[in-house]
Amino acid sequence: HAETTGSLGREGWKPQDTNSQACDYWRHCSIDGNICDCCGGSLTNCPPGSKLSPSSWVASCHNPGDGQSYLIAYRDCCGKQTCGRCNCVNTQGELPIYRPEFNNDVVWCFGAEDDSMTYHCTISPIVGKAS
């Protein structure tokens, strides 16, 4: 079961901390694309055969479980066709292209092995606490 669930609406962001394959999982607050956990990867790991990018955009996401905010570095898994499953567009604190470190439109595959520049999916690892 990887049907896209928890998609953002105009009524705003309401994060949950129980289902990491849903768009409204707290760590996905600025994800754009596909959740790697639905594509053979996991919340923080790339699917087999893809290439992990060392570069990322970031966002500060609120965890309703512990009431803390964390900096998430969205790293893309690259070198394969778009995964297509669990497609999410979240934009908490998402800034335009001229502020690329907070922009989720960029194909963030820079530095991935074999110069892979095709988007497959995105992982949501924590960098640290956000203030």
């Binding site: 105009r10 705003g12 567009v89 001229y98 439109d105 960029v106 194909v107 095709t118």
Partner: protein, 409 residues
Amino acid sequence: MKTDGLVVKTSSPGLQVRAGWVLMTACTALVLAGAAGAAEPKIPTQLGKEITSTLQDEPIILSAPPSNAKRVYVTDPGHFNVTSQVFSIDGEKSKLLGMTDAGKLPHVMASHDGKFFAVANTLFARIARGQRNDYIDLVDAQTHDLIAEIDIPEGRFLSATLERMATLSNDDKFLLFQQFSPSPAVGIVDVANRSFVKMVDVPDCYHLFPAAQNTFFMHCRDGSLLKVGYDGKGEIKQENTKVFHPEDDYLFNNPAYSAKAGRLVWPSYEGNIYQADLTADGATFAKVFNAFTEEERKQKWRPGGWMTVTYHRPSDTIYLLADQREKWTHKLPSRFVFALEAKTGKRISKIELGHEVDSIGISQDDKPVLYAVSAIDRTLYMYDPATGKETGKVDELGKAPLMLTIPEL
């Protein structure tokens, strides 16, 4: 500039033209596949005469009518798919005229004479991996045949498609495209001579707005515009304008720009409308206004979508895509369009679209069609902006159509 195994290499990698490459590629592919002999399509020999029998009808390959002001190109990047489709549509008759294939996250640019359109492409040798190849296709707006292919360095900025990350010059003689990595640069392509000229270094600036006399403008991180003059050899002169917006008023990724008027119209997340007139001499900024009343702002009216603004040059009118929404939902579709006098900010009308719309555009004639594309519906809707009435639609447009390109004849 890399070439994969199926594409013919030329001796001059810096200045190569591949008009007629289709035939060359086909030949090479056949040779590589070990299929010796002529490259003509073969008819299966085991089948009878019936399959090539004489017809009473005479099938031909159609040509689209000449592009008029109501031609609109709808691009479906297919949610970051490795290939894309460009749909040519007659906006007056709501009729699909033809299609063009494109690569990953393409940029589609309509020429200012309406005779051709350019598609900046990226393809990979092995579907989503292997050697990358970036190139520009020039496509005839009637026949949809390839006029030429121009090879460029593998420098296209791959992001969700932004209209102004690549552009034709006002005279259609040059084409400019943006590079992001490893450092900001602009590629200059000589369209008239079908050749790549040079990558030129620029500061931390984005978008390309062409002005007269080989000039273009970019928008920089510091909140200024950058004016760049260039020539056919890649020599440039650059100069920054004043800072015209504060750091915390975020400008959407897809502003409206009329190359003919030199008018740039740029909304922010909170509905402030910034405008500038761009000429070879520099930028003149207009007074900023907000698209909404104080009451509407309290009721959470904000712009939102992908191409959230369009500008009608003949009537000097701004159309803004908006809805009631919380902050940080700025990329979700909207159901309304606000028409505003560009000069005064005065509200002309509020159009209810009746659909979840991502991008809007408008034809640049006296009785314009307002276009509204919905990725989720995979449909382009047409409206009469004077009455707000829906006048037509074209559906089944790919996976997630998002971009509108409208020739400014």
